[in-house]
């Protein structure tokens, strides 16, 4: 066994025997997201390297500690990309962290999520066993799809060691159109466009402006530009805009100490696309055809969660000084029973990232 992996196995074995919780750590760029990390830090950044990459297979396999930036630049050199645009909240994020957090960027509504592009992985469970699920092929239904369960599990079920991802060619052409429309008009138009065969791969509404990104074959993008109208953004401005949403570098997402002290919070509401405009105190930024609505303001947690629930969705407290109401919305009783069963199945000693997703899990 690889010596770096062997050390991690020993560490997990030791923690299991001592029943000493571990905080599984990659680049630490998402430590602010979710519930506070707890336990003895276990650094995975030594477990690096792209194990295999064959552009003609549209598959890349990388060890969990590989910097996301390294992976993305390797893919780019072959004209390919991670189509789900994982956020890079800061430099140093890792491939394992990307999968464990399960977060996706502006393209998510049309191309799918991290989970959708995960083909397989190798992990350690709480018994320090090295397990491989899924594989390096797109179609694979042998056994339960355990690898995709790990996407968005925040490390509570195991230590990710290596992951295989489906990658796609970078679209040959892109264009971003903007429209100065109010929220209702923007949402209504996005719905109409979503039901037509248009190469839309991202959209946002904020502060009275709708931005729509088109990507695909040259002919398709230029035909769609003609059909949709609006003002065409310069390529530089467009790249800047979408990465500011993807990486949360836009001022909307950054809550300085002062704002936090005032009790301001950043909320992510995940709702059905057809949800009518939501009214909460504060400012809003909408993505994913209306399925992801960011709110920034001082509304009480109960009010935000009630608004999301009324729409058939849920809310996550992404940034805020006081997360005592819980970062994530709890699942219902039946699902929580399954959550506890799965925790027991993968990590019977309860050593992995305790409380990172939900208290007592």
């Amino acid at each position: 066994m690889d010596p770096v992996l062997a050390r991690i196995v020993d560490r997990v074995q030791d923690a299991r025997l001592r029943r000493a919780p571990l905080e599984i750590r990659g680049g630490g760029t998402k430590a602010f997201y979710g519930e506070a990390p707890a336990g003895e830090p276990m650094d995975l950044t030594g477990l690096t390297g792209i194990s295999s990459y064959e552009p003609t297979e549209l598959v890349v396999t990388a060890r969990a500690g590989t910097p996301l930036a390294d992976l993305e630049s390797e893919l780019e050199s072959q004209g390919q990309c991670l189509p789900f645009e994982p956020p890079r909240f800061a430099a140093g994020g890792t491939v394992g962290g990307m999968v464990a957090a399960g977060l996706s960027g502006p393209a998510r509504a049309t191309v799918g999520s991290v989970r959708d592009h995960l083909l397989g992985l190798t992990m350690l469970n709480g018994r320090a066993e090295v397990l491989t699920f899924g594989g390096q092929v797109t179609k694979n239904v042998a056994g339960y799809d355990v690898s995709r369960l790990m996407a968005g599990s925040w490390g509570i079920l195991g230590v990710l060691c290596e992951v295989s991802l489906k990658v796609l060619p970078i679209p040959p052409a892109r264009a971003t159109l903007q429209f100065d429309w109010d929220e209702s008009r923007a949402l209504a138009q996005l719905k109409r466009w979503a039901s037509q065969p248009l190469p839309i791969t991202g959209n946002s509404w904020h502060d009275g402006r709708l931005c729509v990104r088109l990507a695909g074959a040259r002919a398709a993008v230029s035909a769609a530009c003609g059909k949709l109208g609006g003002a065409v953004q310069s390529p530089e401005a467009a790249v800047h805009w979408w990465s500011s949403l993807r990486d949360h570098t836009h001022e909307f997402f950054s809550l300085e100490d002062e704002a936090l002290a005032r009790g301001e919070c950043l909320w992510r509401l995940s709702v059905p696309t057809t949800t009518a405009p939501i009214t909460l105190p504060g400012r809003q930024l909408i993505e994913w055809n209306g399925a992801q609505r960011w709110w920034r303001g001082s509304a009480p947690a109960a009010e935000v969660r009630a608004a999301a629930a009324a729409a058939g969705g849920h809310a996550t407290l992404v940034r805020g000084a006081d997360k005592s109401s819980g970062a994530f919305t709890p699942a219902n009783d039946v699902l929580m029973r399954i959550h506890r069963g799965l925790k027991q199945a993968f990590d019977p000693a309860g050593i992995f990232n305790p409380g990172r997703l939900y208290a007592r899990l």
Partner: protein, 495 residues
């Protein structure tokens, strides 16, 4: 192979279970006489048959809950069943179990053209969803070959694919929400009509779980806009290697075709006799390469595809002129299974996946196996995603052919694992590939699968004995290998 438990208590047990089910269901929803339950003795894998204690056919969710609750209390295995088109024996009855038929859950609850979703009951046929959505210019993308008959509940159980999943994804990628019931009858919903739900993402476990984690009664699927145009290129190749290499070249050029399928010469001859689609019978392999989208997009992509295929050594290219011709190109591929039924008394369809680059190597290995096992094999592949469907031809009435066919199949699966692939791409493990699961997964991995099962169904009542082989079974299978690939007691059913 027929399998029926006849020990004296079976009749008593049946009487007991049927009596209890009468508290949950109206009498006309319970079948238990042998002549009534006979149609449920097998699914699409007809070589395996078992008679169930009873068949329950609830019409409402309340009846599903009540049926499950009765079976849970009495510890009766429950096997959910849709149209029974599965090819791996996933819906094979348990001799002391109840078949839970969802045939009456055949209502399309809602087509929401604004949200681009459909809410359908689990017994709705795959194609019926697209038919209902057509009025809005939308359709449901996953298109397994059996789409005329198979149900969405079965698609969820198997994570079904189809010829267009290279571009549009599998069932998992096209399902937002699954509503159903746990083994004890508790109602449950996985996913939501938003793009994600709170907590762990349980959808990937449920989709593809072959009815072992929960029973599905209702599904919200994504609908996508119907492409304005689709055109298909039929390309001939002199040898299978260059056809395989052409597949890699298409992908390498950044093209993701809507469908990319390969048929070998034997298969082409077989389907040509069945559909008369003017296939090139001289070609060693035929590739079907499809582009869809806006007319501009398709025009541009078809040109690029033609360029790549020519450079890769295609000896003949034909681009579909219109929809009739395009459908004719596909007719052979879509009828590959029934056409094989026309040239051989029986056939067994395999379903492994390998990395695309190993395609030619795999085909050569299969040719060797034809000699080794003395049986013919015709091949269709979802070449774009490396999913193989070799059809092994045999005659069950000939002594030993079924047995050799099984060994041939197991050899294909084990070779696939060795080449970096998997034993099942889209048909599921069911009972058919239990032995091969011993090869693909370590004891610790199989134990982890079992632990996942327990998190959902601690009493192991939902479709027990499928998908995850027991430790004893794998030990026995390991021993069989020591004896030179010849199974001891080949006449015994092995599930």
């Amino acid at each position: 192979m027929s399998f029926m438990i006849t020990h004296p208590s079976r009749d008593e047990r049946q009487a007991e279970v049927v009596a209890a089910l009468r508290d949950a269901l109206p009498p006309e929803c319970i079948l238990f006489r042998r002549e009534d339950t006979a149609p449920y003795e097998c699914d699409g894998l007809t070589a395996y048959r078992t008679s169930p204690l009873a068949v329950a056919m609830p019409a409402t969710e309340a009846q599903v809950a009540a049926t499950l609750s009765v079976c849970h209390r009495m510890e009766v295995p429950v096997i959910a069943r849709g149209a029974g088109t599965g090819l791996s024996g996933g819906a094979l009855p348990h001799a002391l179990g109840v078949i839970l038929s969802l045939a009456k859950f055949n209502r399309i609850v809602k087509i929401d053209a604004e949200a681009c979703t459909a809410v359908v009951q689990s017994g709705v046929r795959n194609l019926a969803i697209s038919d209902a959505a057509a009025a809005y210019g939308l359709y449901y993308a996953p298109d397994p070959s059996s789409q005329i008959a198979c149900t969405i509940g079965g698609n969820v159980a198997e994570n079904s694919g189809g010829v267009h999943c290279l571009k549009y994804g599998l069932t998992l990628h096209n399902v937002l929400r699954v509503r159903g019931f746990m083994a004890d009858g508790t109602a449950v919903e996985f996913g939501s009509e938003a793009l994600d739900a709170p907590g762990l993402d349980l959808m990937p476990l449920v989709v593809g779980s072959e009815g072992m984690l929960a029973v599905t009664t209702e599904v919200t699927v994504k609908l996508i806009p119907k492409p304005l145009l689709a055109r298909c290129i039929m390309a001939s190749f002199d040898d299978v290697e260059s056809a395989g290499a052409a597949v890699a070249s298409v992908i390498a050029r950044g093209i993701v075709p809507a469908g990319l399928e390969l048929m070998d010469k034997a298969m082409t001859a077989c389907v040509e006799g069945f559909v008369h689609a003017d296939y090139d019978l001289k070609a060693a392999a035929i590739l079907l390469c499809e582009s869809d989208g806006t007319p501009e997009e398709v025009h541009e992509e078809i040109m690029r595809m033609e360029e790549v295929l020519t450079a890769a050594g295609a000896t003949r290219l034909e681009v579909s002129r219109d929809e009739t011709q395009r459908l004719r190109f596909w007719s052979g591929r879509k009828n590959a299974f029934p056409a094989s039924g026309g040239i051989s008394p029986d056939y067994m369809c395999m379903d492994s996946t390998i990395p695309r680059k190993r395609l030619a190597e795999m085909l050569r290995a299969i040719q060797q196996m034809e000699i080794k096992y003395g049986l013919r094999c015709v091949n269709v592949f979802h070449a774009g995603d490396g999913n193989l469907h070799p059809l092994i031809l045999f005659d069950a009435d000939e002594p030993d052919e079924m047995h050799r066919c099984e060994l041939f199949g197991a050899d294909i699966l084990e070779t696939s694992v060795r080449l970096g692939g998997t034993v099942t791409g889209e048909h599921g493990v069911g009972v058919e590939k239990l032995n091969s699961m011993c090869v693909q997964f370590s004891p610790a991995e199989r134990a982890q699968f079992l632990a996942v099962k327990h998190a959902f169904d601690p009493r192991e009542l939902l479709n027990p004995g499928k998908v995850i082989p027991s430790l004893q079974r794998c030990a026995e299978y390991g021993k069989m290998h020591v004896h030179g690939g010849m199974l001891p007691f080949p006449e015994l059913p092995r599930f």
